[in-house]
């Protein structure tokens, strides 16, 4: 993968970092500060950072952001986290299958929206990173400083919750 210039990294991934920070911090100025600091810190090591895929790049940016939040906003404990000791679930979850099912947009859109906003921030973010940002489980695990199994389990649980609430 060609290494983009750093200004393009800011432009292309600010949404990713912003919404990640937003799930951990409640104060708007804290969110903005965390996003700014993430990009300024990442810039310092960008020249030395190598990555093979866009997912790795996203994972790295989110790791920087997570560290910024943990270091700089210690008073707020609800940084996105998953207990790495959570038990792995088998891969045969039918979550991915359900996501491919056909649905009537006008009927389901509002319903899903309402359920999504009541879910825990970590669940919302896992769904965002996996579905919207198209990240691999292992890349999400790196960003959240946990293991792949724990990420999979929480993600499948979140999708099951979504599915059950809709039915």
């Amino acid at each position: 993968m060609m290494k983009p210039k750093y200004e393009d990294i800011v432009k292309n991934y600010i949404n990713l970092v912003y919404f990640f920070a937003k799930k951990s911090l409640s104060n708007q100025s804290d969110i903005d500060d965390a996003v700014q600091e993430t990009f300024l810190k990442a810039m310092k090591t960008y020249d030395r950072f190598t990555f093979k895929s866009e997912g790795e790049l996203k994972s790295w940016l989110l790791t920087v952001c997570r560290n910024v939040i943990v270091d700089g906003f210690r008073s707020q404990k609800n940084t996105l986290s998953i207990d790495a000791n959570e038990i792995d679930v088998p891969d045969e979850s039918n979550a991915e299958e359900w996501l491919e099912e056909q649905v009537n947009q006008s009927q389901e859109l509002e319903k899903i929206k309402k359920i999504l906003i009541t879910m825990k921030p970590i669940e919302q973010e896992l769904i965002r990173l996996r579905i919207f940002e198209d990240m691999e489980f292992n890349q999400i695990a790196v960003a959240l400083s946990t293991n792949e199994g724990a990420v999979k389990m929480r993600y499948y649980r979140a999708i099951d919750k979504l599915k059950t609430s809709i039915l």
């Binding site: 600010i14 949404n15 600091e37 300024l40 609800n78 359900w98 947009q105 769904i127 579905i131």
Partner: protein, 328 residues
């Protein structure tokens, strides 16, 4: 449509609502990056990127620890803040708590009600003390109504912004010594200088109306292309800032998920002096040695924080996402 696509649509909508805010943040970060690249240790007291990240600007007054002053309004604010602080200390010792799903201790029961009430009352009283009388603010509201009717309804089905409320007084981002009033309507927030009714900022409330049960209105109908929206943005600026010659500014075009942004930036020669030549205080984060260099806790900033710029954002449906005048 598949569930997966539907979920993506929800996240796209969420991104669109915050697009203007994120775009401004992006501009700020890019400007900080370019300053960092041209960083010279002799020019700045602080390591700039960290200073920016940790900046705390004391806009109005010190906090409750300040001794009595000769300013009765300031004294009343100090008393109110001290009363609140005392109540928090009492609640922490004797109040009712529960542990929420994130492991945070939060007030509950009667303590929750009392603390919320006290917080709201204190905030409202301090806002009132810092503000102009309601009758004077009403004149600004009337002006805003006229302005909204003339300029804001750029998308055909936009709901009427009839319920305009006053919020607070703040300093402008690029010049905190320049005080403006904040008002908001159903879907927008406005920063206006009550002295000359000049509007400095209009933004869709997506980023701020997090707990508002009403959805912010967004028109994403594919109606205009980037070139057409640029023309609309230019006309809008000509109306708002007739003295600014856009041809002398550098235009940058941006787009994020069907939203388009146009940012005109001036050069150093166009940077205006601060409203108050005494400047404003900028303090580092004392608890973090990285942010607190050379032993300098606070410095007086005498120049505005950034180069002058104007930004206008539109959805592809032609709805104004925001307008900001930073320094013109």
């Amino acid at each position: 449509m598949k569930y997966k696509k539907l979920i993506n649509t929800i996240f796209e909508e969420e991104s669109a609502k915050e697009a203007m805010h994120i775009n401004r943040l992006e501009q700020k970060i890019l400007s900080n990056i370019s300053q960092e690249k041209s960083y010279s240790p002799n020019r700045f007291v602080w390591k700039m990127p960290y200073a920016f990240a940790a900046i705390i600007i004391f806009l109005i007054i010190g906090t409750a620890t300040v001794a009595a002053t000769e300013n009765p309004i300031k004294d009343t604010i100090i008393q109110l803040t001290q009363r609140l602080q005392q109540a928090i200390e009492n609640a922490q010792k004797n109040g009712e708590f529960r542990v929420d799903e994130h492991g945070e201790k939060v007030y509950t029961g009667k303590t929750e009600e009392e603390m919320k009430k006290l917080h709201d009352e204190t905030r409202d009283k301090i806002t009132e003390l810092k503000s102009r009388p309601a009758a004077e603010r009403q004149k600004t509201i009337s002006y805003l109504e006229t302005w909204i009717n003339k300029y804001l309804y750029t998308a055909p089905d936009m709901p009427k912004q009839t319920d305009i409320k006053y919020s607070n007084v703040v300093g402008l981002n690029n010049d905190p010594t320049h005080k403006v009033e904040i008002y908001y309507s159903q879907d927008y927030e406005y920063q206006i200088d009550p002295v000359d009714n000049k509007i400095y900022d209009v933004s869709i409330r997506g980023a701020r109306a997090k707990n508002d049960p009403e959805e912010t209105y967004m028109d994403n109908t594919p109606r205009y292309n980037q070139a057409q929206l640029e023309e609309m943005a230019t006309e809008f600026i000509k109306d708002q800032l007739p003295d600014v010659d856009l041809s002398k500014l550098k235009l940058e075009r941006g787009a994020k998920i069907d939203n388009f942004f146009f940012t005109w930036t001036g050069d150093e020669s166009m940077r205006k002096p601060l409203k108050d030549p005494k400047g404003f205080k900028v303090c580092g984060d004392v608890s973090n040695p990285e942010f607190y260099e050379n032993g300098a806790g606070c410095i007086m900033q005498k120049k505005s924080m950034s180069l002058p710029s104007i930004q206008v954002g539109f959805t592809q449906g032609g709805q104004i996402l925001g307008f900001s005048n930073s320094g013109f």
